[in-house]
């Protein structure tokens, strides 16, 4: 075979190879079951999907908070030496574009409180709280923000139903990109 023919043969093989590569993908992933993903499947969705069994109230949450959270967030969530911002109250956000955001003056979904506590808190020991502790802490923070009563039970059904004061305050910036 001449050099030119050899080159043409290689070129044809490459072209054919790339054409099949487009149709076929490597499929190297290993199958796994949803049960085996459960430990990572921790997102709590606004409609309640992903919330675990369990329940708690603000009264119970005050105890959990004092024990596990106040070391950073201060007594009664008023702000501490590490996490200085209070977790409740705050000026109305009509006060200015730099108003500090709190659960009460900004957050749109109560499930976000549960979700962030579950995945990220306590900051130095994440994912060590029980579902009961998380429901109770969430209830306590909602209570401090005057959104629910002290003895209201938060669980997978009641938490997503909590109407946050600013739920309808948001404008989707680029709806055509969703």
């Amino acid at each position: 075979m001449s050099t030119l023919n050899a080159l043409l043969a290689v070129a044809a093989a490459l072209a054919f190879g790339s054409a099949t590569a487009n149709a076929e993908t490597p499929k190297l992933g290993t199958p796994i079951t949803e049960q085996d993903i459960a430990a990572w499947d921790i997102a709590a969705m606004p409609n309640g999907a992903g919330l675990p069994p369990g329940s708690g109230t603000a009264v119970q949450g005050a105890k959990v908070f004092a024990e596990k959270c106040s070391v950073c967030h201060g007594e009664g969530a008023k702000g501490g030496t590490v996490a200085r911002a209070p977790l409740f109250g705050g000026r109305p956000i009509t006060d200015g574009i730099d108003t500090p955001k709190t659960i009460g003056n900004f957050w749109g979904h109560a499930t976000t409180v549960f979700d962030f506590t579950r995945r990220a808190m306590p900051f130095s020991a994440p994912r060590t709280l029980t579902p009961e502790d998380i429901y109770a802490t969430t209830a306590y923070l909602l209570y401090l923000n005057k959104i629910i009563g002290e003895n209201e039970v938060m669980d997978a059904k009641t938490l997503p139903a909590v109407k946050m004061p600013h739920r309808d305050n948001f404008i989707i910036r680029f709806p055509d990109r969703i």
């Binding site: 590569a21 993908t25 490597p26 499929k27 190297l28 992933g29 290993t30 199958p31 796994i32 079951t33 949803e34 993903i37 990572w40 499947d41 921790i42 997102a43 709590a44 969705m45 606004p46 409609n47 999907a49 950073c72 590490v82 996490a83 109305p92 956000i93 009509t94 200015g96 574009i97 730099d98 108003t99 955001k101 900004f106 957050w107 749109g108 979904h109 499930t111 976000t112 979700d115 962030f116 995945r119 990220a120 900051f123 130095s124 994440p126 994912r127 600013h166 305050n169 948001f170 404008i171 989707i172 910036r173 680029f174 990109r177 969703i178």
Partner: protein
């Protein structure tokens, strides 16, 4: 060297200004450039400024053997000032930021050691052989991938800027904060990323056509997660495993991260370990609180996604000092989440007159483009600004236009590291006084 300089100066002085305060035609930078053109058009000129240079001699480093070649090279000891500035140098229990020193860099690629990095709970020490990425939820078959598996996929390489949506946030201040391009704009960087198109992996898992969102989640201690529209995931998202040719830096998501070109930095989830295909957004902490920004009327934006068109001048800028009247190159970076940069204009008189800057090619979509503008400074006070346009027709808003929509603070912002609001993309103005000192101003 003396005659070389003077020829250059003669040439520059012969060029017609194209806008106020000494901006020269960008044509001077095209082709072979100003030096050759000047040398050809004039004879031996006379020096405009300094006395003759000293006679040349060998320096000590030219008379001895140098150090051994190291396995991993680092910059010269004379470049020790070119480092990221840190918001949390004492490692307190809070977010830490490292900002890119734009005023010391040129070109378009941010070196990996200087790429900006934000870490909300520190840098996880991830063993790449143990790390896993799972894709599940609304798919036919949940799948687990390792770094080794992903490295065998057909890889895609592209340039992309990454920008924290809180970049430039102190420019929401009602008075200009005196800070460098690094302090103001250091939370944007640009790199060449290589990875696996996410669409291939979603296709292999068998994504449900009814799915609208993904939850992307990291392996950091916060398990940081963001909701990403499936539309973006199937368009141009990558699972990036290389950054400027080498494995990702730990601060940029080692061993793998989501890359969503043009979208706010935080959505480009680092240490990516889980993608759950879902029918609704998760309304997580970062999307529902941190990166939803308050508007002047008390409403708030949600799902801003895009890092919109922006540019800023890096040379000269705050922290530099001018070396007297004469020729300088004004240059900076421009980028847009919606495509390629089409045009950059520069003003030296606070926006009264503008001229086209030269764009350094190749111009990549959703990536830094370096712009350059020849300039002859006459030593009088000037205000330098840049303004960018992209191929989609978007234009960088003037400050008055921007503030009218997005607002500003009632009181000056004290710290250059404050996150006053999000998604600032208006102009940056550098005021140079008659002594050559440079301030951050609003114009």
């Amino acid at each position: 060297m003396r005659t070389f300089k003077s020829r250059n100066s003669d040439h520059i002085s012969n060029l017609e200004p194209v806008a106020g305060n000494g901006l020269l035609s960008r044509r001077a930078l095209l082709g072979r450039g100003i030096v050759v053109a000047g040398a050809m058009s004039t004879g031996a000129g006379t020096s405009l400024t300094s006395a003759a240079a000293e006679p040349l001699k060998d320096d000590p480093w030219s008379l001895e053997n140098g150090a051994n070649t190291p396995p991993l090279q680092t910059p010269s000891r004379f470049e020790k000032h070119v480092v990221r500035i840190l918001s949390n140098p004492n490692n307190e229990m809070r977010t830490s930021h490292g900002r890119t020193p734009h005023q010391h860099l040129n070109g378009t690629v941010t070196p990996n050691s200087l790429h900006f990095s934000i870490n909300h709970s520190g840098l996880p020490d991830i063993d790449p052989n143990q790390h896993k990425l799972v894709i599940h939820g609304m798919v036919k078959q949940p799948l687990v991938f390792t770094l080794e598996m992903l490295s065998r996929y057909p890889l895609v390489t592209r340039m992309a800027f990454l920008e924290c949506s809180g970049n430039s946030a102190t420019m929401f201040s009602n008075e200009p904060v005196q800070a460098s391009a690094q302090a103001l704009h250091g939370l944007v960087s640009n790199a060449e990323w290589t990875g696996v198109p996410l669409s291939i992996l979603l296709d292999e898992a068998g994504i449900d056509p009814a799915a609208k969102w993904l939850i992307a989640e990291g392996a950091d201690s916060l398990a940081l997660h963001r909701s990403v529209p499936v539309k973006k995931a199937l368009d141009d998202a990558l699972v990036a495993i290389y950054q400027n040719g080498e494995r990702l830096m730990p601060g940029n998501g080692y061993p793998m991260r989501l890359l969503l070109p043009g979208y706010q930095g935080n959505m480009n989830v680092k240490f990516l370990r889980r993608i759950k295909v879902v029918d609704q957004p998760a309304m997580g902490f970062y999307e529902a609180r941190t990166y939803s920004q308050i508007l002047p009327d008390g409403k708030a934006y949600r799902f801003h996604f895009l890092q919109e068109i922006k540019s800023f001048i890096t040379h000269p800028s705050f922290g530099h000092s001018m070396k007297g009247p004469g020729y300088y190159e004004i240059s900076g970076v421009a980028y847009s989440g919606t495509g390629r940069i089409a045009k950059v204009m520069v003003s030296a008189d606070g926006g009264r007159s503008w001229a086209d800057a030269a764009l350094q090619g190749p111009v990549h979509s959703q990536a830094f483009t370096r712009f350059r503008m020849p300039w002859r400074w006459d030593g009088q006070p000037v205000v330098l600004q840049s303004r960018a346009w992209d191929e989609a027709g978007n234009v960088q808003p003037l400050r008055a236009e921007f503030v009218a929509v997005r607002g500003q603070t009632k009181r000056p912002v004290a710290s250059p590291f404050a996150f006053t609001n999000q998604h600032y993309n208006s102009l940056t103005s550098w005021g140079i006084d008659g002594n050559g000192s440079i301030k951050h101003v609003y114009a």
